[in-house]
Structure formats: structure tokens, C-alpha cells
């Protein structure tokens, strides 16, 4: 089969690889009908996620048709059309029982590496480095889905791939980020980053009853999408002297009640602190560039919540912890417990209350992945979300 392989920093190749087979009784094999490139794939593309090996198959946003199931999988049958959460969960451990699926303790075969870095292990992820288990990803014609009795969710008939594909990661990720803000009537939620997660966070915040949402970015077409599809107001940080002050002015001097960092470790800042972070990250004195997070903490209303769906992988410095302490802020963060949200959000889509398909700007054959990664990374050609078709 053909698969998108990471071959080095800023290099992906479509390679001819063996088809996956059932390895364990709880496995399923899925023929992939649609797979997307995620902003977090760019962290590997840019070389910021350690433990990648040349030839690793990428991709954690994928859906398709079940073609084979292991003898312990009773909830799926060949022919079922499924979406598959990006985190691999066993369903049996204490975190899984608490519905904290991305903290699963039993699905990561490389526990030692991650425990060495973070003190504890966490769930295996599809196509996301050997720290997260080294599982082959779904940017391929076929994919092996372990613990298939827990993850895959059958798609009701009548829904197109593009309507449900983003239930694998970014819609639940945006939704959980908004939910983490514990939105109360009258709340204003500000979101840094108008990428797919930021846009879904804005949409979700309004679904959860936020009075207003404000999205901060500098890419005009992304800000336009926030206004047109996500009921958000926008701030272009390239055209705004002081984002924190602008937010204060927009919120009666109170500041936003919830702030969401949907940017993560590779923020593109302006000014002196940006140069400082870029320099330190380049020489690996810090692994992550936390510009958006610093600004979000400064902007947040006293007593408010800082919600972090953006990916951080290592260490940051110069954090305004004093401001966070003085304002009594609450921090919520982490990988999304996707399994929790697939069913409820699928019902919203089925009822016609929301259609995540608005996000797709590029539909390409799998073979175009090398160009697609570059276009997406450079935000060229109005690229916001790429969906790859393995059959094309």
C-alpha cells in the first residue's frame, strides 16, 4: 500500500509499504477513505518532536471502512464506516474508566521513553513518534487500529466524510478546550490561533453558551473563517499595537473570562520576546516558544481560566506566573479525551446543528502529501485544512 512517511526534518515521502495485518485479537484493519494533516503533524515535520525514525508512517486524523477485525472485537464488522480517535485507549485502566482516555496507562509500548521525559507514561497515539508508542499512522491506504473495541465509532449513514472526519481530533480538541473554560452566562472567551483547533474552539465556545468569542491571529483568510463560520469577532495581531489592551477595551475593561491557547509550542510572534524565544529554541535551550500562552495569561480576567489545547512538548521559560498567581487563574490542558466527545458531537452534526466541513480548503490525493505538508506549513494558497484521499 501507499503511505505518507516521515523521512527527516521538512521531508515526507509517499512510500510503498507492506499492508497492515491483525497483530492482536483487539485489532481492526481499516481501509482509509479520508485522512487529514493536523497542525500537530507540523511539529514533527519541523523536527520538534523527538524520537522520530525515518520511515515512520504519519497521520492521526483518519476514517474509513472496517475490512477485518480481530477475534476479540465484537462491536465492529467488516463494512462498518468508522471514525477513529487519535489517542489509543484500552478502556480498562483507571484513567479510561474515568473517561480520561488520552491518559490511558496500557496502550503505549514505549513507556520508558515517555516516563523518562515526563515522569509518567500516557496513551499511545497514531503516527506520533516513538515517545507515543510508534504506532503506524493513518495517512495511508490501510491502517491497523489497536483496541478497536474501544476507539472506533460507527458513522451513521447519510453523513459525508468531511462532515465527520474532524471528530477524530480537532473538533473534540476545540470542544474540550472550550469546555475547560467552564463557560458561564455572559462570559467572553478569547482564542489565540485561528487554525483548525482555534476555529473549532471558537465554534464550541458559542455552542456552550459564551456571550462572545474573540479570535486572535494574523492570517486574513483564517480570521475571515472565524467570523463567517464560528460566530467570532477577530483581532489581527499584526495590525494591533497591544492585543492585551485591545481585549480589555472589547470586554468593558474586564478581560476575557476564558482564554484558549490554540497555538502551542511554535508560536509566530513579533517583537523582542519573539526573537528571544526563536533564538533559544533554535539552539534548543528551550524546546517550546510560548508567545501565545504568555499573552493569554496577561489578558485573562482575574479568576478566569487558561485552557491549553495547543501542544507543548518540553520546557518553556519567562512565564508570567506572577500574573497568573495574582489573578487566581485556573489552568486546564492536555491531550483531548476524544472518545468522550465523538458520540455527542456526531449527534450535533446529524441533527444539522453544526457542519465541520466548512474547514476544508484543500482536497488532494495521498500522493500529493509532500506538497500538501509544505503548503499547509507555510499557510500558502489560503490553506487551512488539507484532506487527503488515498483512493485518488
Amino acid at each position: 500500500m501507499r503511505a505518507v512517511c516521515w523521512t527527516g526534518r521538512h521531508q515526507v515521502e509517499v512510500r510503498d509499504v507492506p499492508d497492515p495485518v491483525i497483530i492482536d485479537g483487539r485489532d481492526a484493519i481499516v481501509r482509509v477513505t479520508s485522512t487529514a494533516i493536523c497542525g500537530s503533524d507540523l511539529h514533527m515535520y519541523d523536527g520538534y518532536i523527538p524520537s522520530m525514525r525515518a520511515g515512520d508512517i504519519l497521520g492521526h486524523e483518519f476514517m474509513g471502512e472496517v475490512v477485518e477485525v480481530g477475534n476479540e472485537v465484537k462491536n465492529l464488522r467488516p463494512g462498518d464506516r468508522v471514525v477513529v480517535p487519535f489517542a489509543i485507549a484500552c478502556g480498562d485502566c483507571a484513567p479510561c474508566r474515568r473517561s480520561e482516555f488520552s491518559l490511558c496507562e496500557n496502550t503505549n509500548p514505549s513507556t520508558r521513553a515517555l516516563a523518562g521525559l515526563n515522569g509518567f507514561t500516557s496513551a499511545g497515539l497514531f503516527g506520533y513518534s516513538h515517545l507515543y508508542g510508534g504506532y503506524a499512522g493513518g495517512q495511508a491506504e490501510y491502517v491497523r487500529v489497536p483496541y478497536a473495541d474501544v476507539g472506533p465509532h460507527v458513522v451513521p449513514g447519510g453523513l459525508r466524510d468531511e462532515q465527520v472526519l474532524f471528530l477524530t481530533d480537532i473538533f473534540p480538541t476545540g470542544y474540550m478546550a472550550a469546555e475547560n473554560c467552564a463557560i458561564k452566562p455572559g462570559d467572553v472567551v478569547a482564542i489565540w490561533g485561528a487554525g483548525p483547533v482555534g476555529l473549532f474552539a471558537a465554534l464550541s465556545a458559542s455552542m456552550l453558551g459564551a456571550e462572545r468569542t474573540i479570535v486572535i491571529d494574523r492570517v486574513p483568510e483564517r480570521l475571515r473563517m472565524a467570523r463567517e463560520h464560528c460566530h467570532a469577532e477577530t483581532i489581527n495581531f499584526d495590525e494591533t499595537e497591544d492585543v492585551v489592551e485591545a481585549l480589555k477595551e472589547m470586554t468593558g475593561g474586564r478581560g476575557p473570562d476564558g482564554v484558549i491557547d490554540a497555538v502551542g509550542m511554535e508560536a509566530h510572534p513579533s517583537g523582542l520576546s519573539g526573537l528571544y524565544d526563536k533564538a533559544k529554541q533554535t539552539v534548543r535551550m528551550q524546546t517550546d516558544r510560548p508567545t501565545a500562552l504568555r499573552q493569554a495569561i496577561q489578558a485573562c480576567s482575574p479568576g478566569g481560566v487558561v485552557s491549553i489545547p495547543g501542544v507543548y512538548a518540553g520546557f518553556i521559560d519567562s512565564m508570567p506566573l506572577g500574573a497568573a498567581f495574582a489573578k487566581g487563574l485556573t489552568f486546564r490542558m492536555g491531550q483531548t479525551h476524544v472518545h468522550r466527545y465523538v458520540g455527542p458531537l456526531m449527534r450535533e452534526i446529524e441533527a444539522g446543528n453544526v457542519d465541520p466541513g466548512f474547514l476544508v480548503t484543500h482536497r488532494l490525493p495521498l500522493a500529493s502529501a509532500p506538497d500538501a505538508y509544505r503548503t499547509f506549513r507555510d499557510k500558502q494558497d489560503g490553506c487551512i485544512k488539507v484532506v487527503l484521499d488515498p483512493a485518488a
Binding site: 501507499r2 515521502e13 509517499v14 510503498d16 509499504v17 497492515p20 497483530i23 496500557n106 490525493p365
Partner: protein, 178 residues
């Protein structure tokens, strides 16, 4: 990381605790049935138990031609809470182990502490055995105890062995963008 202690007499002791979402009696049974230990203790090839004497025969994975084996006996056995064993005279390295099992608070399952001790090896075979048991016994125990938990909670150990990858595989020519 497992606790590793080097005693003044050269004895090495490694210890590690894990919480398992199963009952104390399930966890105890898994250790008491020595024959099952190789399913999660990676360095063991087999453990066989003589039903009459209760003594066990331990065999360590070794390269072709080499054989590292010893016999062991149970020292103390308190069903559901404690189990200890030690190798019989003649084993090199002489070694012993104990498992402490107690209920975790608030329905969190069972806390299981495993401690393994090794005397300094006496001869060449002992040195080979010490090596096979792990240059880093603490790291070995860390991995074994993770496998124990995985086995107890899910009945399997997660693996990617046998999955495809693109190493040393040909690139596919681009068919053109849509």
C-alpha cells in the same frame, strides 16, 4: 524509576511499586503462579513448578549453547498480601524476591510492590546470568512491572511488532495534484 540499592556486601536490591486496577487476590494469584511470570518478566524464558515439593525451576533467556537456570523455594506465603522466595544453594547468582500486596484507597485497585535481590555472582555462569538478568536491573524491573499491569488490566501487552513502516522502502512517484 525503580529504586536500586547496592548493599555494602555487594548485594543489589531493586524495588518498584505499581497500582493495578484489579483485586488484591487477582494480583496475588498472578505472582503465586510462578509459571506465568515469563508472560511479563522479559528476561525469563520459563519457570516450572514441581507440584509435589512446590519448588520452582527458573530458566533465563540465554544465547545458543548457554544455559542459566536455578531452583527456588517459597519462603513465606500469605495469600492475598505477601509472597517471598529465594534460590536454593548452588544458584549463581543467589537471588530472592518478594511481593507485597495491599488494597489501594478509594477503589483504586491494588498496590503491588516487587523487590528483587541479587548476590554478587560467584563464577562465570553467574556473571553471564547477572548480565542476562539485566545490566540495568532497575530498568528491567520498571518494564516488567508495566507489562504486569498491562497484562492484569487488559490481558495483553501493547505491541507494534509486525506493523508496516517505510524504512528502506521505495518512494511512490507522484500521480499529480487534483
Amino acid at each position: 524509576m525503580a529504586l536500586e540499592i547496592r548493599e555494602p556486601d555487594g548485594r543489589r536490591r531493586v524495588q518498584r511499586t505499581v497500582t493495578v486496577l484489579r483485586s488484591p487476590s487477582d494480583c496475588y494469584s498472578a505472582w503465586r503462579d510462578f509459571a506465568r511470570l515469563p508472560s511479563f518478566m522479559d528476561s525469563l524464558e520459563s519457570v516450572t513448578v514441581d507440584p509435589t515439593s512446590g519448588r520452582s525451576h527458573w530458566k533465563v533467556k540465554a544465547p545458543a549453547g548457554q544455559s542459566v537456570e536455578w531452583d527456588a523455594e517459597v519462603v513465606e506465603d500469605v495469600p492475598g498480601s505477601f509472597l517471598s522466595w529465594r534460590s536454593l544453594p548452588g544458584a549463581d547468582p543467589a537471588n530472592s524476591g518478594e511481593v507485597v500486596i495491599r488494597e489501594a484507597p478509594g477503589g483504586r485497585g491494588t498496590e503491588v510492590t516487587i523487590a528483587l535481590s541479587y548476590e554478587p555472582p560467584l563464577g562465570e555462569v553467574g556473571r553471564i546470568a547477572a548480565k542476562l538478568l539485566g545490566e540495568e536491573p532497575a530498568m528491567q524491573l520498571d518494564e516488567d512491572i508495566v507489562r504486569f499491569k498491562e497484562m492484569m488490566e487488559t490481558g495483553r501487552i501493547p505491541t507494534t511488532a509486525g506493523q508496516p513502516n517505510g524504512r528502506n522502502r521505495p518512494s511512490v512517484a507522484k500521480r499529480g495534484a487534483a
